[in-house]
């Protein structure tokens, strides 16, 4: 099993790595790049804790091979803030108490961020659908949905 050289951009930074074919994108992000913000929940695509943006769209990184990152752009939770300034979605989650244990939070925020990028003023149904693939056991989702609504208005939606 030969390692492959890949080069990609992650959170705005160029990276070159050698990875084994059987390494997942999630393992590479967490273990090779030490970006542990992205979490492994179920490892098989049922919970969304590992959600990152791959070329701008949300995917379960546990189901993407690391080699597939080649020539692509990845955005993880660590890449959302600019210097010390949090993204409006992150601020909104804090202000609206949209988290408890925080384990689902990075994935939840990435899905929310991706939603607001493609839909500036989502209604409640659209928000629920956008995070349907992100399981949360602590909050019951109510405050998460509120946080996304409020973030959308602060970003300049309706």
């Amino acid at each position: 099993m030969e390692k492959k050289e890949i080069s990609f951009r992650i959170n705005g930074e160029e990276v070159v790595l050698h990875v084994s074919p059987n390494r997942t994108l999630l393992e590479m992000i967490r273990e090779d790049l030490k970006l542990t913000g992205t979490k492994e929940g179920c490892g098989i695509g049922d919970c969304g804790a590992c959600t990152v943006l791959l070329d701008g769209v949300p995917v379960n990184s546990c189901l993407v091979l690391a080699v597939e990152a080649d020539k692509k752009e990845i955005l993880t939770i660590e890449g959302l803030k600019e210097n010390d300034k949090l993204h409006p979605v992150q601020e909104s989650f804090i202000e609206n108490t949209a988290l408890q244990c925080g384990f689902c939070t990075p994935g939840m925020i990435m899905s929310s961020y991706a939603l607001l990028k493609r839909n500036k003023a989502p209604n409640e149904e659209e928000i629920r659908e956008a995070i349907a693939g992100n399981l949360c056991r602590c909050t019951g989702y109510v405050k998460i949905i509120e946080a996304v609504k409020k973030a959308s208005s602060s970003i300049g939606g309706k």
């Binding site: 099993m1 030969e2 492959k4 084994s20 074919p21 059987n22 390494r23 997942t24 393992e27 490892g43 098989i44 695509g45 049922d46 969304g48 959600t51 791959l54 769209v57 949300p58 995917v59 379960n60 546990c62 189901l63 993407v64 091979l65 080699v67 597939e68 899905s111 991706a114 629920r128 659908e129 956008a130 349907a132 693939g133 992100n134």
Partner: protein, 290 residues
């Protein structure tokens, strides 16, 4: 018993062209072809499949990624994602039932990676795109180093997770003939939660009209037999415009009798049969305005 967290070891190739693909696919190594990987990777992780020597990633072949109307047919390439199919303006305009079905699969993260081609090649009886493709009478082009062959969707499935695909063969294209009449379609997925579930029962109903009169009724069923199938006897009852509440009820009952669901931990046979009848009846009534 081992609970694996890591994928087994395998090699990886990403051919840049069809020619390269067919060279690699039959070079003697045990190979798995994949596009989205959302069905394959979990299976490999859980060791439900013997680990292959090599995974062949189809996404390097840019010619494989398309959803477009060409030559009187909607054509879907092997690496077109579920999301691209459900949002394609051509699909939404001409085959809304397929858009509906694709949209009901899992959630965005899976839809951005998984493919319609993969959904049917994986061939679980509950595959959501299958009933819709059946009623749309899709044609599948299978291709290998030896050449191409056409298979009708209704002849594609052999059993749970088994299809007519041979070793070294891939699903090259899904073709759906444009309908020459006004059509109305509905895909209904019965599940326990609002999302993320496999269908307990999947019902695709398509009504074709000409001059305002019903010309054809097609019913596709998923998750209630070893393979997704057309309930032809039920369709027979509604042929030639014999549409009444009574005939709809009869057709719904017949669709159930054509089904052969199993008892499993998701649902019982009894419930599935009742639901086939219920959902077929409802969708027919809704589409036929009865």
């Amino acid at each position: 018993m081992i609970f694996y967290r890591r994928l087994p070891k395998f090699d990886y190739v990403k051919p840049a062209s069809e020619a390269e693909l067919f060279k690699v696919i039959s070079d003697g190594r045990k190979a798995h072809v994949y596009a989205g990987g959302t069905d394959l990777l979990p299976k490999l992780k859980k060791r439900l499949l013997p680990p292959p020597d090599v995974l062949i990633d189809l996404k390097g072949i840019s010619d494989f990624n398309y959803v477009r109307i060409f030559d009187g047919k909607l054509r879907i390439g092997p690496t077109a994602t579920i999301y691209s199919v459900y949002t394609s303006s051509d699909v939404v305009k001409h085959f809304p039932i397929l858009s509906q079905a694709a949209r009901s699969i899992a959630a965005f993260q899976i839809q951005n990676r998984g493919t319609i081609a993969g959904n049917i090649c994986n061939a679980v009886p509950s595959a959501d795109s299958a009933p819709a493709l059946l009623v749309l009478q899709a044609n599948l082009t299978l291709k290998s180093r030896e050449g191409e062959r056409d298979v009708r969707i209704e002849d594609f499935f052999l059993g749970p997770t088994r299809t007519v695909l041979r070793d070294g063969e891939i699903l090259r294209e899904i073709e759906i003939p444009l309908l020459d009449s006004e059509s109305l379609g509905l895909y209904t997925k019965l599940s326990v939660r609002g999302r993320m579930d496999l269908a307990i029962v999947g019902v695709a109903t398509l009504i074709l009209k000409r001059d305002g009169k019903v010309k054809d009724v097609r019913i596709g069923l998923g998750a209630v037999a070893p393979i997704p199938f057309r309930a032809k006897k039920a369709e027979e009852i509604l042929k030639d415009g014999k549409i009444t509440e009574a005939s709809i009820n009869e057709a719904a009952k017949m669709a159930a009798s054509e089904s052969s669901p199993i008892d499993d931990h998701r649902a019982s046979k009894e419930y599935r049969l009742l639901m086939v009848e219920t959902l077929v009846r409802r969708s027919l009534k809704k589409l036929l305005g009865v």
